[in-house]
């Protein structure tokens, strides 16, 4: 019965963090938080080891938030923590990778005794600086940097800190609202945890925490030991901001853990697409876990089993003061690199390369962006979109679907209601999925104009424009992405650019790579694709390429 009791409490702990996360999604302001679930919530033991984490929209917080609690504890030792304390940071290197993510960590008390820590994070609406741009050269350009600081002490808020935040961000009320939501989210966690401990008559989480970590570690170890042991190398070249970037990973399966080392990867960029190591670790661990142990819940036991290293100064271990705002541009590509290595170790288990990088449209107009007069109403709007995902070993790739990110789109009707834009087309992009026994997922085409013909700008952070997603086992690459104007002018995949008055932006999103030789495709599936108009070119033409 002891075992069952511990399992019940483990489930309850997962439910506690899930409740915490749902409350946060419902109250958050930024598009990425509420539509894309770009938030995270977890409960930790007093050494900062994560015991449970909510399954939320983006894996970027998977272990970056987990690690952040240790940084808080180093700065604010547990013995100094009091009821009503909450601590804050958005340090990209100690939090979750860029200034937009605010992390709040709070001690949780039960019967007057400190029993756990709750931590949560969300992507706020604005953090000052250049805004959503990847064009920053140093983190100093990217906005307000909040070091590890007390935010609330014994229930008393640090008003000076809040004033400082308000004065440095464009949407002060909403950002402050998000900070309040984060604190409230941890309070929900504390309350629920206390009720659970009361019901089960436990005074601390020692036994439960040890059980969770031990069980999970053993599960991960069993899964890893079932794989061939050894080292394999993966390499992928991607567009980069101003020069191509080589991403190299050596994946080593060694008994109780998987090690991923990024030695040989290109140096950090002078633009804001760099990854702090915490974010590199998050996406790497996510990619490995999807293949090796997808059903084991995240906690310290599972995180320890995936060890990520990278030489300092590479783009995947960029150091302060590198610009990091669009760190997801690189982070999202990492599972594909790891899969290139894993495929050699366990053929038939990993998908082909996909678009991976999100093709979000970050559009805006206003003073200093699109001119100083006659530019119409200023606006900023972000919508989330995806190209095609890679074909799976036995299934076609998903069309217009993110991987590894887990975001969700914004309806066109909503976008058009809140911003002066007209989306003329949003449709699957025929022939963009890489041919193969299993076809890569299709990208999509979007065409956007200003509602009143005024100029507007795009903050582009697009990958797979020069280097498309490659197929596997003879599968062909997906189509490259393309950013242009309807008049034929080609735009760059990265950086802020203006669509002139009356112009129409055409965004052709990339397709995913195919899997297996195209000639082995099931004729019925090929016929279905042709009838649906998803594949217009005859197969032979593709093979001639």
């Amino acid at each position: 019965m002891r075992d069952i009791r511990l399992q019940v409490m483990w489930n309850r702990l997962l439910s506690v963090v899930e409740e915490q996360a749902r409350a946060l999604v419902r109250t958050a302001f930024s598009t990425s938080a509420r539509e894309a679930g770009d938030i995270s919530a977890g409960v930790f033991d007093l050494e900062g080891r994560m015991l449970a984490q909510a399954v939320t929209g983006t894996p970027g917080h998977v272990n970056s938030m987990a690690r952040s609690v240790v940084h808080f504890l180093r700065e604010f030792p547990v013995e100094t923590m009091k009821p009503g304390d909450h601590f804050i940071t958005n340090d990209p290197w100690k939090g979750t990778g860029h200034l937009y993510d605010i992390v709040i960590t709070s001690p949780a008390f039960h019967d007057g005794k400190l029993v756990a820590l709750f931590s949560c994070t969300t992507h706020v609406v604005d953090i000052g600086g250049l805004g959503q741009s990847p064009d920053g050269r140093q983190v100093y350009h990217e906005g307000l940097f909040i070091p590890l600081l007390p935010l609330v002490r014994g229930g008393v808020w640090d008003e000076s800190l809040l004033r400082m935040v308000r004065a440095n961000v464009r949407e002060a009320v909403q950002v402050e609202g998000d900070i309040h939501a984060l604190v409230a989210c941890n309070l929900i966690g504390e309350r629920r945890l206390s009720a659970m401990m009361e019901e089960h008559g436990i005074a601390d989480l020692d036994e439960l925490g040890a059980h969770i970590i031990e069980r999970s570690r053993a599960g991960m170890e069993a899964a890893i030991r079932a794989l061939p042991q050894g080292s394999w190398d993966g390499h992928m070249r991607i567009d980069g901001y101003d020069a191509p970037i080589d991403l190299r990973a050596r994946v080593t399966i060694a008994g109780d853990h998987v090690a991923v080392d990024y030695a040989g990867t290109s140096a950090a960029s002078s633009y804001g697409i760099n990854c702090p190591i915490c974010y590199t670790e998050a996406y790497t661990a996510f990619g490995v876990k999807c293949i090796v142990a997808p059903t084991i819940p995240n906690n310290a036991g599972t995180l320890d089993a995936i060890r990520v290293t990278a030489p300092e100064g590479t783009i995947v271990n960029a150091l302060h003061p590198a610009a990091v705002n669009a760190r997801s541009t690189i982070g999202h590509m990492l599972p594909d690199v790891v899969y290139g290595a894993l495929h050699q170790c366990i053929p038939g288990r990993v998908p082909a390369e996909g678009t991976s990088n999100l093709w979000n449209l970050k559009l805006g107009a206003g003073h200093g962006m699109t001119g100083t007069g006659g530019g119409g109403t200023p606006f900023m709007v972000t919508t989330f979109h995806s190209g095609g995902a890679g074909a799976r070993p036995r299934q076609d790739g998903l069309s217009a679907t993110p991987f590894p990110s887990g975001v969700r789109n914004v309806p066109v009707e909503i976008t058009e209601t809140i911003a002066p834009v007209v989306v003329w087309t949003k449709e699957l992009r025929p022939d963009s999925g890489g041919a193969g026994r299993q076809r890569g997922g299709l990208g999509q085409v979007m065409e956007v104009e200003h509602r009143h013909g005024a100029p507007f700008g795009i903050f582009a952070t697009f990958e797979r424009v020069h280097y498309p997603a490659r197929g596997r086992e003879g599968g062909l690459p997906g189509a490259a992405g393309r950013l242009s104007l309807a008049d034929g002018t080609v735009l760059k995949g990265k950086g802020f650019q203006v669509i002139p008055a009356g112009g129409r932006l055409v965004v052709e999103m990339p397709g995913g790579g195919g899997y297996g030789p195209p000639e082995e495709r099931d004729p019925a599936a090929a016929e279905r694709d042709a009838a649906a108009g998803l594949v217009a070119k005859p197969l032979m033409q593709l093979l001639d390429k």
Partner: protein, 675 residues
């Protein structure tokens, strides 16, 4: 008045007949090929049982899973979609998301309309209603020709921003009606005039997809009833918890999905009123799923978002979204037939896959070998093998135990604890999403498996009381007879509260009232009606709207209403932020007074137990003798202490040690559970 309720479920068709406080019930196997068969057979049978004539019937209320099943089994009409050029794939692209983060093998549901039958027409309306491109009628006629050639049976029309500007959809419908006589047309500006193109198209397509099937069925049912000599009006139960006429059901069949659970919720509402419960949770647990609904101040939680046919472990996002008025409930893949197993970490997992009725749980002896929740209940000693389902299914305890052996030690207790914990978690998360709490509520348990698990579930949710109503096995049908004749109309009209156009809004509500009244009056020509107005609002910049009840249409009153609703949900307001409204609804219903609270009957001693059984309590791991009582032997005022089992044909109520049970004046079981 003699009134009949008929609920067609997946396995059984339930019938309840009521007259002046008297009631009769019966159950038949559903006849999927011609569902009206079981309805007509059952009607004859129940009338005979009650000794009444068909002509004496004053009302027939009907709910059916037919529309839901057609969507789940993909057995609807050959349906096409006409949409704005450039948007034919909205329905396939859906939310562009993966609903299961870690599963690289995940698939999204196939759209109900395959791509060749999704056709874009040149036309475009802007968000403010301005026409950017007129409707290309010639192009539409050419498309209609293709549809005719392909034998299309139903067409959904969904243009961008049609909730603001209906003319293009209406003109398109005229052209299609002319070109394709006999083909059913569903217009998004009628079926779901609400912002968000994917959800609106999905709802409209679902309506078109089930319409021919439902129209045929309703026609056959009507004539069958007439031939049987029944002249009473026929009303259909909707997912909103209201009933409507056949005519409306034929036009908007998508509103009929999930009517069974809505009936259950209505019954729970009546029980809550009888027992004077201000805060309750309705808990319905059957063979494959469990459903939980929150009740506050006798009000049912309502919503406009629902997903039919969730194909992936009941995960949110894996089904077909429909925007219709529904009673908000959380559905979990946890029922008597749910299969238990151990995962890679050695943890017990229960469901969501179910052994169904064939082969069913191992203890049925019909060839099932995988351990289920019912097997665990049997092994714990909770079920009398000779009395299960009224004795119609003799249970094989040895097979239950053999199936559970594979799960290791304490398996039966483990399965029961995990399934209860799973339901408790879902209920808590559901509550927090609605800004509520489960603690200190009363659990109203019905459905075959609920009374077995109710006491433990209540304890896990911080509740001290459980009510098990009479006739819990046919709860939904009982609820049908208590539902008002009702209709809800929705419109999207984006407005900032600080720039509110009250006159325009008043005109909008007047139009909505007229539309709703036209529908409701068909079934209730002269009755008094109650109108409920709601605005769906948010702080500018947010992505989710919250429902705000509307009393007066002025800016300050709406803001105050929003603040109150927001504070109730999230515990705070943000004073300096602007508020905007996107969507408005108007619900019109006949008044169905809820029953008054009943008085406690004088206490009477309970009879001696009919027998004793060894039961294992999963909460403590202790095995001890429990008193066995026949529910029929317990009269109002009688009370007993746990451990006990109260057995009836359709279910068994478990009274654990430390809890007590009493019978109230209406024969309902009331369990008090020690905290």
């Amino acid at each position: 008045m003699l009134r009949l309720a008929v609920d067609i479920g997946g396995t059984f068709t339930d019938l309840v007949l009521e007259e002046d406080g008297q009631s009769w019930s019966t159950k038949l196997l559903t006849t999927p090929a011609a569902p009206e068969q079981a309805v007509l057979d059952g009607t004859r049978r129940i009338l005979a049982l009650a000794g009444r004539q068909p002509a004496q019937l004053g009302l027939v209320v009907h709910g059916t899973t037919l529309a839901t099943n057609a969507l789940i089994e993909r057995k609807g009409a050959r349906t096409a979609l006409v949409t704005t050029e450039g948007f034919r794939d909205s329905i396939e692209i859906a939310w562009e998301h993966r609903f299961e983060q870690y599963d690289i093998h995940m698939e999204r549901p196939e759209p109900l309309v395959p791509r060749p039958w999704r056709r874009g027409v040149p036309e475009r309306v802007a968000a403010d209603g301005a026409v950017l491109k007129p409707l290309d009628e010639a192009a539409l006629r050419a498309i209609a020709e293709d549809f005719r050639r392909d034998g299309i049976e139903a067409v959904a029309i969904c243009f961008l921003h049609s909730f603001t500007h209906e003319a293009h959809e209406r003109r398109a419908a005229e052209i299609l009606a002319e070109a394709l006589p006999g083909v059913g047309l569903s217009l998004s500006c009628e079926v779901a005039p609400e912002i968000r193109e994917y959800e609106r198209a999905s709802t409209t397509i679902a309506n078109a997809y089930v319409q021919p099937l439902m129209a045929g069925y309703l026609g056959r049912l009507e004539s069958g009833l007439r031939e049987a000599g029944i002249v009473a009006p026929l009303l259909l139960m909707m997912s909103s918890g209201g009933v409507t006429t056949v005519e409306t059901a034929r036009r908007y069949p998508v509103r009929l999905v999930e009517s069974g659970p809505a009936g259950g919720a209505i019954l729970a509402q009546a029980v809550a009123a009888e027992c004077g419960l201000d805060r309750a949770v309705a808990f319905d647990m059957g063979g494959t799923t469990a459903k939980l609904t929150l009740l506050d101040g006798l009000e049912l939680q309502r919503s406009r978002q629902f997903e039919v046919a969730r194909a992936y472990r009941f995960v949110q996002g894996s089904g077909i979204p429909v925007r219709i008025p529904v009673i908000e409930l959380v559905e979990i893949g946890a029922g008597g037939g749910s299969i238990a197993r151990r995962d890679a970490l050695g943890r017990i997992q229960v469901g969501p896959d179910s052994a169904g009725s064939v082969p069913g749980p191992a203890c049925y002896g019909n060839g099932g070998t995988e351990p289920t929740v019912t097997d665990a209940d049997a092994a714990l000693g909770r079920l009398d093998p000779a009395r299960f389902a009224g004795g119609s299914i003799p249970l094989h305890l040895d097979r239950a135990e053999a199936a559970l052996t594979g799960l290791g030690t304490d398996a039966a207790a483990g399965v029961a604890e995990i399934v209860d914990e799973t339901m408790a978690s879902a209920a808590r998360v559901h509550a927090v999403e609605n800004g509520k709490d489960t603690a200190e509520r009363t659990l109203i348990a019905f459905g075959g498996a609920a009374p077995l698990h109710a006491a433990r579930l209540a304890r896990k949710l911080g509740m001290a009381r459980v009510v098990v109503p009479v006739g819990a096995g046919v709860g939904s049908a009982h609820g049908f007879l208590r539902a008002p004749i009702a209709y809800e109309v929705v419109r999207t009209r984006h407005m900032r509260l600080d720039a509110l156009d009250a006159a325009a809004l008043e005109a909008l509500f007047a139009a909505m009232r007229a539309e709703a009244e036209a529908v409701v009056r068909l079934g209730a020509p002269a009755e008094e009606l109650v109108e409920t107005r709601t605005g769906f609002m948010r702080y500018r910049g947010q992505g989710h709207e919250i429902a705000v009840p509307i009393a007066t249409l002025d800016s300050a009153a709406l803001r105050a209403g929003f603040d109150a609703a927001y504070a109730a949900l999230f515990g705070r307001t943000i004073p300096r932020l602007e508020v905007e409204a996107l969507t408005w609804t108007l619900a019109l219903a006949t008044i169905r007074p809820l029953p008054s609270p009943i008085a406690d009957p004088p206490p009477r001693p309970a009879p001696a137990p009919a027998a004793w059984r060894m039961v294992l309590d999963p909460a403590t791991g202790l095995r001890e003798e429990a008193a066995l009582h026949e529910r029929t032997a317990l009269a109002p005022g009688m009370a007993l202490a746990g451990p006990a089992l109260i057995v009836e044909d359709a279910t068994t109520t478990v009274v654990p040690r430390g809890a007590s049970a009493r019978v109230n004046a209406l024969g309902q079981l009331v369990l008090e559970i020690a905290p």
